[in-house]
């Protein structure tokens, strides 16, 4: 249990450091939301100054941080200037969509990668393995931006998939099954894109972990005892190989979140990515800090999940 507590404390500390870091960085930034307002001749200088005072822009950095931290604890996460609403109300719906997309994509990627990696490791050195290595290398050299654009082109040209958004415009009038189907076709393309982008790295890691596991002496011994090949692969080698793979799962959250921003912008998915880009362009600092914090929370949660899984799966860590 001490292991898990330590991990949790570490995660919380990390989040606090990230929050101070990103807050300070953005508050030092030259120019703010109200500067753009000042250029508008229809907004008087008094109004701008009043707004600045109202949002506490004249206070010192630590005071503003304290205010912000208090508002995070209250569940508001600061105030969005351009949407004129607490940031949290903006974030939740967006975060749900991003989480939904990345979770499905992660599942899809791992479901594809595990059999491919195992198959490739089991047939090490044969033409199947080479073909697999070749295709993952090829996928690695294709920029993800380009891949998403090609998928979008596919959707536009064939008309098989709806383009943009998460649901159709007449979504509200559908019955339950049509709603489910509607959501499914809308996220097919972004989820597929994300899965394909992360796939090559996963396959390579799984393959190398499995190759290493299959080389260990106890596998040879088990093989000598006449244990069938499938059982050898899944019951003996896979648990041994799972340790680095679980850590990889934690790491892959970061990759997934970054790739998700691009896919969300390209395919107009109403997630955190487009919100972030808009917020940067309009200098809506609290929204930017909010998104950065939320993505760090996802990431830390992913790593914690990996730690817990490791704790459950690996007796060596439990004994420590």
């Amino acid at each position: 249990m001490r292991y898990l507590t330590r991990r949790l404390l570490h995660a919380i500390l990390l989040l606090i450091v990230i929050s101070v870091f990103s807050f300070a960085l953005l508050q030092w930034a030259p120019g703010n939301f109200f500067d753009a307002m000042r250029l508008n001749p229809r907004v008087s200088a008094q109004t701008v100054n009043g707004l600045r005072l109202e949002h506490g822009m004249n206070q010192s950095l630590p005071v503003r941080y304290a205010h912000w931290a208090y508002s995070v604890l209250k569940g508001d996460m600061g105030f969005s200037f351009s949407y004129n609403t607490p940031v949290a109300s903006l974030l939740w719906a967006r975060a749900r969509n991003t989480l939904f997309l990345t979770t499905i994509a992660t599942l899809l990627a791992w479901l594809l990668a595990i059999p491919l990696g195992i198959w490739s490791a089991a047939n090490k050195g044969t033409w199947c393995d080479r073909a697999c290595a070749f295709s993952t290398s090829a996928l690695l050299t294709i920029p993800d931006l380009l891949l998403f654009l090609i998928l979008l082109l596919l959707a536009v040209r064939t008309g098989w998939f709806p383009v943009g958004g998460m649901v159709s415009t007449s979504f509200a009038s559908f019955d339950f099954w049509s709603k489910l189907k509607d959501i499914a076709v809308h996220f097919a393309l972004p989820a597929l894109g994300l899965a394909v982008v992360t796939l090559p790295v996963l396959v390579r890691h799984i393959r190398s972990a499995m190759v290493e596991a299959l080389d260990s002496p106890f596998i040879r011994a088990a093989h000598g005892h006449g244990i069938p090949r499938t059982r050898l692969l899944f019951r003996y080698a896979l648990p041994l190989a799972s340790n680095p793979l679980i850590s990889l799962l934690g790491f892959s959250v970061a990759t997934m979140l970054s790739a998700s921003v691009i896919v969300e912008v390209i395919m107009s998915w109403p997630g955190l990515g487009p919100l972030m880009v808009q917020a940067i362009l309009s200098r809506d600092v609290y929204v930017v800090v909010g998104v950065v914090m939320l993505s760090s929370v996802f990431l830390v949660a992913g790593n914690l999940l990996a730690d817990v899984l490791l704790f459950v799966s690996d007796p060596r860590i439990r004994v420590e």
């Binding site: 990390l14 450091v17 990230i18 870091f21 960085l25 953005l26 030092w28 930034a29 030259p30 120019g31 393995d129 080479r130 290595a133 070749f134 290398s137 690695l140 050299t141 294709i142 920029p143 993800d144 931006l145 380009l146 654009l149 090609i150 979008l152 082109l153 536009v156 040209r157 383009v163 790295v201 390579r204 890691h205 190398s208 990889l248 790491f251 892959s252 970061a254 990759t255 979140l257 970054s258 790739a259 921003v261 691009i262 912008v265 390209i266 972030m276 880009v277 917020a279 940067i280 362009l281 200098r283 600092v285 930017v288 998104v291 950065v292 993505s295 760090s296 990431l299 830390v300 790593n303």
Partner: protein, 359 residues
């Protein structure tokens, strides 16, 4: 394209190409590519902002050797374009207008390396004719020309940012590995922070802290600095590892016993041992940083028009009508693949050759 996570770990090209001269092949390819991009003015037929408003979204020009009467011509030629009577706003090949392709022609003026004025171009066709190898964009600008000029921006961004990252990595990783103790703890905990965050969000956060409306060249410099600063953690970690083992080697210990100073030890004995990691990291980081620049510019946070970059070439694809109607707008993006391939191959070959730590 993630420079803070493990996306390009183990790019094992050797599985596919068992080639003894892989390193030289990759380096030759890279050298050729950079020369073409560096001398974009000569290799490109037009200026980077030369427009032909009469030919927006012209399809790629085909090179021909056999003319309408079936006669073979040794000098390749291109046909002119006319408005397509069937489809409004698109062009059809007009086989009555024939423009032979000439080599080493005089054209629009440019400066070699920013100093030497010249008008010489590798190829071109005479005035009313146009040669668009990769088609033209919304303003009738030659995409091939813009790809070459854009490469100057994007590759420079990638190279300088990678150099910055690796330099920071050498300094920080070297200090952390050499001194150990609390310095090591502090620096590596800081590095973990950078490794932990999703790189694009981190890049966004830092980009958001910088002014939006400034001159293009300032944006370009800021972009380089931001990308370079954000990615120092991975090279620093690898270099720290090398330094940790390097400082324990016998000749280093001996030099220390002879009274060599820390600076001398680092400069003369320890840091030279990291060159394998440094080179490999450079080769890996450049394509990732080029892609970071492309992504930021694509999202409207990088260098903007009229400065061409590979990101702004792709940005036009955000409009649905461009994406769906003009397939040749994809061509510059497709050309990125061989560029990245060359870099990854070089990184892989370097790693094999120099037997550096696994990436």
């Amino acid at each position: 394209m993630c420079f803070c996570s493990s996306a390009t770990r183990g790019f094992v090209w050797s599985d596919i190409v068992k080639h003894r001269h892989k390193l030289w092949g990759a380096l030759l390819l890279l050298a050729g590519l950079h020369v073409v991009v560096l001398f974009a003015g000569f290799f490109a037929p037009y200026g980077s902002s030369t427009q032909d408003r009469n030919l927006p979204f012209a399809p790629p020009t085909g090179l021909h050797f056999v003319d309408a009467s079936g006669k073979f011509r040794a000098r390749p030629f291109v046909y002119g374009l006319k408005d397509d009577p069937q489809a409004l706003g698109s062009f059809a090949v007009d086989s009555t207008q024939v423009y032979p392709v000439h080599f080493f022609v005089q054209g629009s003026s440019y400066k070699v390396g920013g100093v030497l004025p010249s008008r010489l171009h590798l190829f071109g066709v005479s005035a009313p004719g146009r040669i668009f190898i990769l088609g033209s964009d919304a303003y009738g600008r030659d995409q091939f020309t813009r790809f070459l000029y854009g490469g100057q921006i994007s590759l420079a961004a990638g190279l300088i940012a990678a150099a910055l990252s690796v330099l920071l990595g050498v300094v920080i990783g070297g200090l952390a590995g050499f001194y150990g103790g609390w310095i090591d703890d502090l620096l590596m905990r800081g590095g973990e922070l950078f490794l932990a965050l999703p790189w694009l969000y981190l890049l966004f956060a830092v980009r958001a802290a910088l002014p939006l409306h400034i001159a293009q060249w300032q944006v370009f410099l800021l972009l380089i600095v931001v990308i370079g600063l954000v990615g120092w953690a991975r090279p620093a970690r690898l270099i720290r590892g090398v330094v940790l083992s390097a400082k324990e080697r016998n000749f280093v210990v001996a030099a220390r016993a002879f009274g060599a100073s820390d600076v001398y030890l680092l400069r003369r004995h320890v840091l030279p041992q990291t060159y394998g990691v440094v080179l490999t990291q450079m080769a890996l980081l450049v394509p990732q940083y080029v892609l970071a620049e492309v992504t930021l510019t694509f999202l409207g946070l990088g260098v903007g028009e009229p400065m061409p970059s590979w990101g702004s070439l792709l940005a036009s694809l955000q409009q649905y009508y461009v994406l769906s109607s003009y397939w040749w707008m994809f061509l510059p993006a497709l050309l990125l693949i061989p560029v990245f391939l060359a870099y990854y191959m070089a990184a892989d070959a370097l790693q094999e050759r120099l037997k550096t730590v696994p990436l």
